[in-house]
């Protein structure tokens, strides 16, 4: 009985661990997107900024659906686009 309980505890811990790392990525993605917005990326890099927004939105939806892998993947992609948007904004929109 004790052994069974242990297995259950480990399994749940693993599931929560995955959820926790996804939360971090989502948080990072949100932070990057906010930074991009602060740099007027919507004006200087509208494509990248918009893509970053959509991917973050998808990531959050996937996380709500417990699809942490997809959430993480979308969040990472959002970060990538936010960084692109920030870089472009820093150079005044030049490509």
């Amino acid at each position: 009985m004790k052994k069974k309980m242990l297995i259950i505890a480990i399994s749940m811990a693993a599931a929560f661990a995955v959820g926790c790392s996804t939360t971090t990525v989502l948080k990072d993605a949100r932070t990057k997107l906010d930074e991009a917005q602060a740099r007027n990326a919507g004006t200087f890099a509208p494509y990248e900024f918009s893509a970053a927004q959509h991917y973050l939105e998808f990531a959050e939806e996937e996380a709500e659906d417990f699809d942490y892998k997809a959430a993480k993947s979308f969040a990472s992609t959002s970060i990538y686009y936010s960084e692109q948007a920030i870089e472009k904004s820093n150079s005044g929109g030049a490509r």
């Binding site: 494509y47 699809d67 892998k69 997809a70 993480k72």
Partner: protein, 451 residues
């Protein structure tokens, strides 16, 4: 039991979650693959139409929704849920296309430059300008002189404003005299006529009749002319009045440069008068051979130029006037001796030889005889009274004979027309007592007589 069931449920959920996050995916159905490809091709088309510039947010939306739809299609979802994802992606792609297309068309319009002159067609007022032409900001060829012929075609790029030009941009020149109409005071000059700087036919003599119409292009300034540019010629002798010293020359008379009838023989009668009026020979100054010119007979002596002896008295007119000093129109005064000429020949004492210096005197007698063939000459010799009278008579005869001989031998005078007579000292002119008197008495005469 119930608690175990909950734990079992949570466990299964955790496993499912882990399995999901570990990439447990399924194969997309062919219909979903086709839908995804269709959306993808719309996005690709939009990208080709510069969607990144025209509608960047819509591009991002369509692309991300397609990614999401594909992702979800690989997950465990039912078809209805799949349709929702794909529908969203399709809507996003269609919106993308609808926004991108007009933008792209506008860009194409902006970029199009058919004549490659650097001015886009939608701005280019002259979209077919040839490459060699320089253009202005509107894309039209430069036209420096504003004659509506572009500089690159304009052979006369500096034509003054508002001047009518031909297809080559040069001022029109209707009469082709190489003076443009706007400068041409005579724009209807006939073809080929030389013109001056203002396009008018040349008028070298300034008589207001252009050279090409002027039959007399060298009329002096100030002379009035007729419509042909020639000065009047009242007598029609082809010598204009202003040059004509004989303004009333009879019609048909041949005239010289001064407009006067020609007098070929120089007898003061024109050829025309001689032929038509006096009936004399225009090529012989002395038609009747009386040694008077035809003109002198008519104008001076009133004698008949066709009759050598106008009065019929037996002595011709020339002899009467020149030698006999009688009236050539009065037969009654005609005399036989028409001349008596004293020769200034001096002989050496007792000699009958004529010295060379006296040849001229004899030549004059010869000329006279040749001039008047009807005249005969009697040479009369006279001496002074010094010496023997018979000898003087003999010597005077010899001296007269010497003169006759000279006339015959040197001048070919017919001997029958000559006669020598010696008078000795019998007919003195002055007393023989003085030296001067004796000199006067020593003399020789040539006496001319007619038959």
């Amino acid at each position: 039991m119930k608690g175990l069931a909950i734990v079992k449920g949570l466990f299964c959920l955790s496993i499912l979650s882990v399995l999901t996050s570990c990439g447990a995916v399924r194969q997309m159905s062919q219909s979903n693959i086709d839908r995804a490809d269709s959306i993808d091709s719309k996005i690709a088309k939009a990208r080709n139409m510069e969607a990144i510039t025209c509608a960047p947010e819509d591009l991002a939306k369509a692309e991300t929704h397609l990614v999401l739809a594909r992702h979800e299609a690989q997950e465990f979802h039912d078809q209805r849920e799949m349709d929702e994802y794909f529908q969203k992606a399709e809507i996003a792609a269609d919106e993308l296309i609808s926004k991108t297309t007009p933008c792209w068309q506008a860009m194409l319009r902006e970029r199009a430059d058919e004549d490659a002159d650097g001015v886009a067609d939608y701005l280019d007022r002259c979209p077919k300008t040839p490459k060699k032409a320089e253009i202005d900001a509107r894309g039209c060829p430069l036209d420096a002189d504003n004659d509506k012929v572009a500089d690159y075609m304009d052979d006369c790029p500096a034509t003054p404003e508002d001047i009518q030009v031909d297809g080559k941009g040069c001022p029109t020149d209707q009469d082709g005299d190489e003076v443009a109409d706007y400068l041409d005071r005579c724009p209807s000059t006939p073809n080929g006529v030389s013109v001056d700087a203002i396009g008018c036919p040349l008028d070298s003599d300034g008589d207001e009749v252009a050279d090409y119409l002027d039959a007399c292009p060298n009329t002096p300034s100030g002379v009035s002319v007729d419509s042909k540019g020639c000065a009047p010629d009242s007598d029609g002798d082809n010598i204009a009045n202003y040059l004509d010293k004989c303004a009333n020359t009879p019609k048909g008379a041949v005239v010289d440069a001064s407009g006067c009838p020609i007098d070929t023989d120089g007898d003061l009668l024109s050829d025309w008068d001689e032929t038509n009026k006096y009936k004399t020979d225009p090529n012989n100054a002395d038609t009747d051979g009386d040694t008077l010119s035809d003109g002198a007979e008519i104008f001076t002596h009133n004698t008949n130029p066709l009759l050598a002896d106008s009065d019929g008295g037996g002595v011709n007119d020339g002899l009467e006037i020149a030698y006999a000093k009688t009236n050539p129109l009065d037969a009654a005064d005609d005399v036989k001796e028409v001349s008596r000429t004293e020769l200034s020949i001096q002989f050496d004492v007792n000699s009958d030889k004529i010295k060379p210096e006296y040849k001229d005197d004899i030549a004059k007698i010869a000329d006279f005889l040749q001039q008047y063939p009807e005249v005969t000459i009697q040479v009369e010799g006279h001496t002074d009274a010094v010496g023997d009278e018979d000898y003087n008579l003999f010597l005077s005869q010899k001296r007269a004979d010497s003169v006759i001989d000279t006339l015959i031998s040197n001048y070919g005078i017919e001997p029958t027309r000559l006669k020598a007579v010696g008078y000795g000292e019998a007919m003195p002119l002055a007393p023989n007592e003085t030296k001067e008197g004796r000199a006067l008495n020593r003399r020789i005469y040539a006496v001319g007589t007619t038959k």
